[in-house]
Amino acid sequence: MSKMRRWLGRNAIRIYAVIAFAYLFVPVAYTLAFSFNDSGKSNIAWRGFTLDKWKNPCGAPDVCPALGNSLKIGVLATLIATVLGTMIAFALARHRFRGRTATNLTIFLPMATPEVVLGASLLALFLNLKINLGFNTIVIAHVMFCISFVVVTVKARIAGLDPRLEQAAMDLYADEFQTFRRITLPLVAPGIAAGALLAFSLSFDDFIITNFNSGSVNTFPKFIWVSSLRGIPAQANVIASAMFFLALIAVLVGQAVTAGRKKQKA
C-alpha cells in the first residue's frame, strides 16, 4: 500500500500530464474520426466508416472555394504583415527615436483588445467610409491583427543577436547593406519565419474578425460557422484533418532537422 502511494507521489505530475493530454486530444480525435463518418447531411452521429469523403474532399458545396479564399487571404495577409512587422521590429530593436512608448503601446493594444471589439470597430470604420466589404477588407483586418504578433516574435530574435557579429562584419569590409544582407538577415530569418507562420495560422483560423468584415465572401471558418446551424459536412473534417497532419509533419520534420544539426555539433 505504501509502495503504491509512493509511486503515485513520485509520478503524480506525470499522471496529471497524461490526463491533461487526454483533455487536449479528445476534441481532435472527434474531428479526425468524423472525417471518416459515412454521414448524410449532418455529421453529428456515427454512422459507419468510409473513405469516401477523403476521396472527394470537395464533394460538399462551397467547402473548397471557402478553403481557397482562406489560403489566399492567409498568404497575402502573412506577406504584408511579415514585411511591415519585421520593419517595425528592426526600428524598435535597433534604433532610438522619439515616440517609442507610443509605438510600443500601438503594437501592444491590438493584442490586448478582444477580437469582437477589433472586428466591430473596423466594421464601424468601413461603414462610415462606405467601403464595400469583401476580400480586401478581410485582408486589411488580418494584416492589422497579425502585425503585432510578427513584431513581438521578430523583435525577440533581433534582441538575441550579438551586436558584435555586425560590428565584425563591418570590421571585415562589409558596408551597411552587405552587413544586413549577409549577417543580420540570415541570422534573424528564423524569427521572421516563426512570425510568418504565426501570422498565417492566426489568419487562417480567424473567424470573429472575418465574420464582421467579410461581406459575402466565404472563408473556411465562416463556412463551418454557417453550416454548423444546418450540419457540417464531413468534408470540412477531412480538410481540417489534412491541415492538422500537414502542420504536424512540418513541425516534426523541422524539429528532426534541428535536432540532427545539434547532434552534428556535439
Binding site: 550579438d162 560590428q167 570590421d171 571585415l172 541570422l187
Partner: protein, 386 residues
Amino acid sequence: MAAPAETGGRDLRLERVTKRFGTFVAVDDLSLTIPSGSFFALLGPSGCGKTTTLRMVAGLEEPTAGTILIGDDDVTNAKPYKRPVNTVFQSYALFPHLDIFENVAFGLRRRGGKQIKAQVDEALELVELGGMARRKPAQLSGGQQQRVALARAIVNRPAVLLLDEPLGALDLKLRRQMQIELKRIQTEVGLTFVHVTHDQEEAMTMADTIAVMNGGHVEQMGGPADLYESPQTTFVANFLGQSNLIRAAVSGKSGDDLVLEVHGQKVAMPAARRASGTDDLLIGVRPEKIQLAQPGESTEGFGSNALPGGVVTDASFTGVSTQYLVRMPWGQELMVFAQNLGAAGLLRPGSKVDLHWDPAHTFALDGSLDANAGVAHEGATPVPVG
C-alpha cells in the same frame, strides 16, 4: 572604397583623442604612437578606457575630439569597413551561419580579392586549422574558435590588427599556450598588433611595449621590464605586480646615491631612480627583492638597505615561494616573497625578522600620490601606509 593598404611602415597615431559619453570621460586627451610592426598592449582595469580606445581605432566609436592616423591617412571619421584595420573580437564574434572557410573568406570577398581559396587555406594553415574549413563555428572548441577569429582578421593583412581581450574566454592552460602562439604569429606575419587586456601577465608575456591606462589616460608606457622595475606612479607600481610602498623623506646625498629616512632608519637608493622631485616620497620595493633575516643571523650577501624590527604575521607556502606578511614597527604590513631554495626553513608567524634589500632595487615616487591606486583587485582592502 579605399583599398586597405598592405602593411609596411604605417604607424598608428592617436593625437589628443577624447571620447565622452554624456558627462563620463572614457578617454581623456590621449596621444599615442604605435610603431608599425610592433606588438603593443593597452593594459588597464575595467573602465580605464582601453576598450573605447580600441573601438575608436576600429571605427566602432567616433572620438569626441582628436585625430586618429594610420600612416598619413586620417581615419578619425572613416567607417569601419573603410579602414585597414581588423579586429579579433572578445568572444570572437564568428558568424554562426557560415562555415570556417567562409568566416575567414568574409573580408576577402567583400574586397573582391582574387585567389581567395589559397589565401584562406594559408591563413588556416598558419593557425593550424587546415582540416577544419568546412565545420561550423559551434563545432569547434574555444581555443579553435579563437584561432579562426585570428585567421579571419590576419588574412586581410591589415595595417593594424586589434585584439580585444582575445584570450579572456580560454582556460588558464590554453591561454598560456595561445600567448606564445600569438607572439609567434605576430613575428611571422609582421603586422602591428594592438592588444587590449586587463591581465598584466598576458601583456608582459606578449607585448614589446605596454601602455598602462587608468581613468582615460596613459599612466606610463614602456617595455615590460622597464614598467616593472621602474614604475613612475603608484598606480603602475600596484597594478603591475605588487609593491611595498613606504613613506620616506630625503635626508641627503652620498655620491650617486640618495639617502632617505624611513621611520627613523636610513636607507639608500640610486638618485637616478627617483621619479619625483619632491622631498616627500613613497619608496617602493618589490616583495621578491626583499630578503628576511632573523636577528643574529648572518646577512652576508644581503642588500645593504635594512629595516629591522619586523614580526611575521602570516606565512603562506605556494610551492615556488613562500609569501610572508611582516608587520613593521610603525604598523604597516609589508609583503615578502622568499624563493623556495630548500635551505631555509619556514618562518612561523610571530618570528622576529629584519628586512634587507639592494639599494638599486628601490624606486621612489611622488609622496602625494595615493599609495593604494591600482590595488583594487577584487576584494582587496586598502593597505594602511605608515
